[in-house]
């Protein structure tokens, strides 16, 4: 029996493929294999002999079967290893392309501004870009032939002969949206109005189209001091720098009174602009308390309501925040520029997550 055991265990160990292993199995534990033949001999034995030889033969059969199963698994593993080792790929090959889109800085910055003002309770108002001269001028206390009209470099729309209405204009500012918004909801109101505006001017620092954001807050006791606070809160949140100071300088806009130009604190270090530090000032927006005539034009009683308005350039604050040098490039759609200054599609500005990454 020991001979038998040794013979077959050695045979199992020495085979190198599954066919040879099957041959060994048949020879050992197959129906006509040597173990089966030995089993048949059990009948000829005395009961005593059988009691010894039977279990021994069964144990031998189990042992050989285990060895066969183990060998089979080992052979399969070896075969898999061999196949896998042949399936080597150059993992340094480039991956499949996934196109990377971008969001334009104007869109991104507009959403940043909206996120900040939304927190302060400002809704977003909109209005047409071809505007009639009532909303763009008259309602904003700029009567016809007022010299202030000429300061806007207005684009006028064509008028057919016989159409004697004053020509429409391409809105020169987002301020007409103030009027439309107040007409719609009355006071109290808090809105911002971002969008395209147009002026006939094209040079190093001007483009005939650019973007403004208008702010309007009308209430019972909203003052210019509130305006200053709102703007300082806005600038600190927008530039992500605590405690940015503003300076108000008296100025004149027909639609506000008093009017102020607003500067933000900044410094120049080695030709690099730093916002929120130093003792320099940079003009960033125009603002003031809404003129009683403007409230009246929009159907709001100036005896009962008061508030502020401001307007600033979206492109300009985008340039300041993200260090974009040239305004004209905003509208040239140079792919290199779009990729360099653009933002990822999922880069949603939120106050919870921070405006910029």
């Amino acid at each position: 029996m020991d001979d038998l055991r040794q013979k077959y265990l050695e045979a199992v160990a020495s085979v190198t493929d599954e066919a040879a292993l099957e041959d060994v199995r048949l020879a050992a534990v197959g129906k006509k294999g040597e173990i089966a033949l030995k089993m048949r001999e059990l009948g000829k034995m005395t009961p005593e002999e059988r009691q010894v030889a039977g279990p021994a033969l069964n144990a031998l059969k189990d042992e050989i079967n285990s060895a066969l199963a183990a060998k089979k698994e080992a052979l399969a593993d070896a075969a898999l290893d061999a196949r896998l080792s042949e399936e080597w790929l150059d993992v340094t090959l480039p991956a499949r392309g996934r196109p990377q889109g971008t969001i334009h800085p104007v869109s991104q910055v507009t959403e940043e501004v909206v996120a900040i003002f939304a927190d302060m309770g400002f809704a977003v108002a909109e209005g047409p870009q071809i505007e009639n001269d009532f909303y763009n001028f008259d309602a904003l206390n700029i009567p016809p032939h007022h010299p202030a009209r000429q300061e806007f470099d207005t684009f006028y729309m064509h008028r057919d002969e016989g159409d004697n209405r004053p020509p429409h204009v391409l809105r020169t500012h987002t301020s007409p949206v103030q009027i439309r918004a107040m007409e719609k909801t009355g006071a109290p109101i808090r809105v911002i109005a971002p969008g395209r505006v147009y002026r006939s001017d094209y040079d190093q620092t001007h483009t005939p189209m650019f973007h403004q954001i208008e702010g309007l807050a009308i209430g019972k006791d909203i003052s210019m001091a509130n305006l200053k606070w709102v703007l300082e809160e806005f600038f600190s949140a927008f530039f992500e720098i605590d405690g940015i100071k503003t300076r108000f300088r008296a100025s004149h806009f027909p639609f506000t009174e008093p009017s102020a130009e607003v500067d933000i604190q900044c410094s120049w270090v080695d030709g690099q602009l730093r916002i929120g530090e130093g003792d320099g000032w940079m003009e960033v927006l125009g603002s003031g308390m809404v003129h009683p005539k403007v409230l009246e034009a929009a159907g709001v009683d100036p005896e009962a309501w008061q508030g502020f308005a401001f307007g600033m350039g979206i492109d300009r604050i985008a340039m300041l925040k993200y260090g974009i040098p040239d305004l004209r490039a905003f509208f040239e759609s140079d792919l290199r520029w779009l990729r360099h200054y653009g933002f990822s599609a999922l880069d949603m500005p939120t106050l919870a997550g921070g405006l910029s990454r």
Binding site: H145, M157, S200, P208, M209, W229, T246, S259, F331, S333
Partner: protein, 803 residues
């Protein structure tokens, strides 16, 4: 508005520094734009004396001078012909910057002889073009600063020139006196008494003036004039020439310089006629149209009907309040002068000035509004100045019209500054401020001075008080939230939709562009635009003449520009307004995407291919899905001329409701736009898809069945013109309860297909998914449905099941 410091000081008694004045001006709302201060650059030059001057041993033209300076005797080599013993000179020491040479000098050796500084010429200090020799001063102590010497002996040379921006509401600040008044109100000195004069006429003016009845309203309010005979019109005195030169005006003659002086000194434009060239009397009237005048700028102007002019017996001689005529202008030979001071209607001046395109100092001031009450004073002051500078004998003043009454008063509510601005300014201070600005207070009523046409209500009084007190001192104060608690959403459904669409397209790999809203006419016409209604009356260039009818135009232009830079494959998009007309409401929002060239760069996986229609369609559908448009939309063929006629479609809810278009751009359109290679695009009309009715956030329960779904494939042979949608729709319509999805998975067309199935035929294969709801499908059920599907598709398309 330009003026000099010394000019300012004729109206303002002040010892404030230039810096303090500049700060106050800007803070008051008179924003300083430029300052030219010669003293700043000359501050280090000192006075020295040449003790001896010997010929340079190595150079005939050079002299070696021994110069007494505040730091002792110095040796200086000098090439000026006038360098000689005993003269008083201006010294630049080593290390100093010489503005006229733009260099910083140092101790050097000139032809072997050390030189410790330089003696300066006027040109080297940018005082004049004089460079024949070094400056010789008639007096001056060694060591004194040269600027101090100049300030005493030749103040014009060190007079600071200041330029400020004047907002349209402040015509008074277009005169030096108005600026001085603001500074005095701020506390930077005391406003000097207003100059006065009263000159009695000695004879009756031979020239009379009338204003036509129809010109009295909205034309000319008042016209005052007087003749001054026997004047001598030579050059004006040096001080006047210096002031005018400093603010960029060319001195011409005393008479003309006097009118310019009043223009800038007190915002009071005047005009002088050569009386000998005026034929008859002067008449202020409206033009009939067609009259012409050669004006002082030597250009001929033709008048429209209704403009206001001054004529004599021979015709128009002056464009009232805007520009005089050349014919009757004063020259060096003028001996009898007729002086005009008039008040014109501001709107009429603005209209006429704009129509004639004349930008004169007179128009600029008359259209902003001069001080009408100053008119009678101005004519006396100007007469006096003419008599002083040119001599002569004045006539009595002739007057037509009346000085308009500008008297008005508004209530000063001293609490209003606190409630409107948020500044705490004592009532007394407020009253003092207004008084200093020329307001007259009677109780709480403030009368507005005649030079402030902009003040039209109580709010203006608040503005004046706050402005003079300085808005810089304003402290921010928190603004209460509009409501308590977590702020609600503030974007409208449309605004949210726009943002989602934008970010979806970017996520699909497109780069967002912002292109101009106006394009050229030819391009606009390619996209069904370019009508006169969408045309600008005054475009900045012919490239930007029409409002864009479609965003694709700008994207194709952008693509062409990028291709010119060597980028062949592009995915560009824009979200923004397009204009289908010229009225405010004729604007709609589009999302346009453009794919040009290949799907990506050459790659090892062989995935690069030319973009096609179905890329654009997929992206359009992705945007529609993202904004929540109904999933079941029709695809109809489109007709727009900028698409390939056989390769474009509209995604519609019914034939009139187009949610989006997609397609291959017409090769001719590409050629005209200069774009090379394949180009496909989509446009989503963002406002078109219906908005979901606002309901609860809760979703309907999930209806997932435990029963096994079954899929069956069918292929049909149909005519090549049959659209896939008709096969899919027919199959889907067989049993809407059982069939959950029909998907077209194969199209077999082309020569091989036709060889197999017959000419003009193709095969379309669909997978139909059956989802039973109550019991498992048996083979018999499936066969029944399959038979119905085959019958219905065959009926709908005229095709047959492919065997």
């Amino acid at each position: 508005m330009k003026f000099t410091l010394s000019w300012l000081k004729t109206h303002l008694d002040t010892d404030a520094s230039l810096d303090d004045i500049l700060y106050a001006l800007t803070d008051l709302g008179l924003e300083v734009e430029e300052v030219h201060n010669p003293a700043e650059r000359l501050g280090d030059f000192t006075i020295a004396k040449v003790l001896s001057a010997e010929k340079h041993p190595e150079a005939d033209r050079l002299k070696v001078c021994n110069v007494l300076t505040d730091e002792g005797e110095k040796q200086i080599v000098c090439g000026a012909p006038n360098a000689r013993e005993g003269i008083t000179v201006v010294l630049a020491k080593p290390g100093m910057y010489i503005p006229g040479l733009d260099i910083t000098i140092s101790v050097g050796k000139i032809r072997g002889v050390e030189s410790h500084g330089m003696m300066a010429s006027e040109r080297e200090m940018e005082l004049s073009d004089e460079h024949d020799g070094i400056i010789e001063l008639p007096s001056g102590e060694v060591g004194d600063r040269f600027v101090d010497y100049l300030a005493e002996h030749d103040p014009a040379k060190v007079d600071a020139m200041i330029e400020i921006a004047i907002t349209p509401n402040r015509p008074d600040a277009l005169g030096v006196r108005g600026i001085a008044r603001d500074l005095a109100a701020r506390g930077l000195g005391k406003l000097k008494p207003a100059p006065e004069a009263k000159v009695e006429g000695t004879f009756k003016s031979p020239i009379s003036v009338t204003i036509d009845e129809d010109t009295r309203t909205d034309g000319c309010e008042v016209f005052m004039g007087r003749l001054i005979k026997g004047v001598k019109n030579g050059p004006s005195p040096q001080w006047l020439q210096d002031w005018l030169t400093a603010i960029g005006l060319r001195p011409i003659s005393a008479l003309v310089d006097i009118t310019n002086f009043f223009t800038y000194d007190q915002n009071r434009p005047l005009h002088v006629f050569d009386a000998d060239k005026v034929k008859g009397n002067l008449r202020v009237h409206r033009t009939k149209g067609g009259e012409t005048l050669m004006a002082l700028d030597e250009k001929e102007y033709t008048f429209d009907a209704g403009m206001v002019v001054i004529s004599d017996d021979e015709g128009v001689e002056s464009i009232g309040g805007i520009m005089g005529g050349l014919e009757t202008g004063c020259t060096e030979e003028t001996v009898n002068v007729f002086l005009e001071a008039a008040v014109w209607d501001v709107v009429q001046i603005a209209k006429t000035g704009r129509a004639l395109k004349i930008n004169s100092d007179a128009r600029y001031r008359n259209e902003r509004g001069i001080d009408p009450a100053f008119n009678p004073v101005a004519i006396e002051l100007a007469t006096q100045m003419i008599l002083d500078l040119c001599g002569g004998e004045p006539s009595e003043v002739v007057v037509a019209g009346e000085v308009p009454d500008t008297n008005r008063a508004y209530k000063l509510d001293t609490d209003r500054v606190q409630s409107l601005v948020g500044m705490d300014i004592p009532a007394d201070t407020q009253r003092e401020t207004l008084t200093a600005l020329g307001f007259e207070l009677d109780g709480d009523m403030a009368s507005v001075p005649s030079w402030r046409p902009d003040v039209q209500g109580s709010a203006d009084l608040v503005e004046e008080v706050a402005r003079v007190a300085s808005l810089t001192k304003l402290e921010g104060r928190p603004m209460a939230r509009a409501s308590v608690g977590v702020p609600g959403p503030i974007l409208t459904p449309m605004q949210k939709r726009e943002s989602i669409a934008r970010r979806t397209v970017a996520a699909l790999g497109y780069n967002e562009c912002v292109t101009y809203s106006f394009i050229d006419k030819d391009t606009a016409e390619l996209f069904a635009g370019g009508s006169d209604a969408t045309m600008l009356a005054n475009p900045i260039s012919s490239e930007m003449s029409h409002m864009r009818p479609d965003l694709l135009a700008g994207l194709l232009q952008a693509a062409a520009r990028n291709q010119a830079r060597g980028v062949a494959d592009l995915a560009l998009f824009e979200v923004g307004p397009a204009f289908h007309g010229g009225e405010p409401e004729e604007q709609h929002i589009q999302v346009a995407g453009l794919l040009v060239g290949a799907t990506g760069p050459k790659d090892v996986h062989g995935e690069r291919r030319t973009v096609d229609l179905f890329d654009a369609k997929a992206d359009a559908e992705a945007v529609l899905a993202a904004i929540g448009a109904p999933a079941k939309a029709q695809i109809l063929r489109g007709k727009n001329a900028w698409w390939h006629p056989g390769r474009n479609g509209n995604i519609c809810l019914g034939p009139k409701k187009i949610l989006a278009s997609f397609g291959e751009v017409h090769p001719k359109t590409l050629e005209k736009m200069g774009v090379k290679g394949a180009a496909v695009a989509f446009t989503v009309y963002l406002e078109e898809a219906p908005f979901k009715r606002k309901s609860k956030a809760t979703r309907a329960a999930l209806g997932a069945s435990d029963l096994q779904a079954v899929e069956r494939d069918f292929a049909f042979v149909v005519d090549t013109g049959v659209e896939a949608a008709s096969v899919v729709n027919a199959a889907a319509g067989v049993d809407k309860n059982l069939i959950t999805n029909v998907h077209l998975f194969d199209q077999f067309t082309g020569e091989t297909a036709e060889r197999q199935m017959g000419e003009g035929k193709k095969s379309l294969a669909i997978t139909v998914r059956l989802q039973p709801k109550d019991k498992t499908l048996k083979e018999k059920d499936i066969e029944e449905v399959s038979a119905k599907i085959i019958a219905k598709v065959e009926k709908a398309t005229g095709g047959t099941l492919r065997g």
